[in-house]
């Protein structure tokens, strides 16, 4: 069966520090991978999606970047965090019409 792992579950980071959130998928090959963010009081916003290794599409210009070094690994990064980067980050994967979300990372930038 397919599973998705996302870590860490919670993270508190100071302003200006780097960020690396990792997401891995098991039990499937060549999935579409996504990073979403949910800011307080708002719906989920698509940040990045990837249809293959090294292929990254950015939906919203911002202080974040994404990379896909392996077929089932998707990494969200920042060189210097801003207060506005705080939020709930969700990784997801899809093949046909099915989407599966990770359990999320709650990031607080202080």
């Amino acid at each position: 069966s397919q599973t998705i792992h996302q870590w860490p579950a919670t993270l508190v980071q100071p302003v200006g520090s780097p960020l690396s959130l990792e997401c891995t998928v098991e039990g499937t090959s060549n999935p579409n991978l996504y990073w979403y963010r949910q800011a307080a009081g708002r719906g989920l916003q698509l940040l990045f999606y990837s249809v293959g290794i090294g292929q990254i599409s950015s939906e919203v210009p911002q202080n974040l970047s994404a990379s896909r070094p392996q077929d089932r690994q998707f990494i969200l990064s920042s060189k210097k965090l801003l207060l506005s980067d705080s939020g709930f980050y969700l990784c997801a994967w899809s093949r046909t019409e099915g989407y599966t979300f990770g359990s999320g990372t709650r990031l607080t930038v202080v």
Binding site: Y36, R42, G43, L44, E59, A92, E97
Partner: protein, 113 residues
């Protein structure tokens, strides 16, 4: 381009009464539509999805939704609310051509005894 409008930010019901969460969408292509539920500090759980089969879709926990193309709506209903239904609900549209999801801003469902 695709978009989703959830017409109510908060809905309050009493336990045992019907639930109606409203959603309107727009999409340039034949859309797939989903409802997700999120309990506090938890990830998203799929309630149901519409992918061009039957227009009345039944999901988990007694929820169902009806796709109405003429009204561009996909409202979520449940005949009788339970306390455990209290959560935030997201209506989501997928542009099947590119397979990305666009989320509504969410509706918080409050259930009182």
């Amino acid at each position: 381009a695709q978009s989703v409008t959830q017409l109510d930010s908060h809905v309050s019901v009493s336990e045992g009464t019907p639930v109606l969460l409203r959603c309107n969408y727009s999409s340039s292509y034949s859309p797939s539509l989903f409802w997700y539920v999120q309990h506090p500090n938890k990830g998203l759980q799929l309630l149901l999805k519409y992918t061009s089969a039957a227009t009345l879709v039944k999901g988990i926990n007694g929820f169902e939704a009806e796709f109405k193309k003429s009204e561009t709506s996909f409202h979520l209903t449940k005949p009788s609310a339970h306390m455990s239904d209290a959560a935030e609900y997201f209506c989501v549209v997928s542009d099947r051509r590119y397979s990305t999801l666009t989320f509504g801003k969410g509706t918080m469902l409050l259930v009182s005894p």
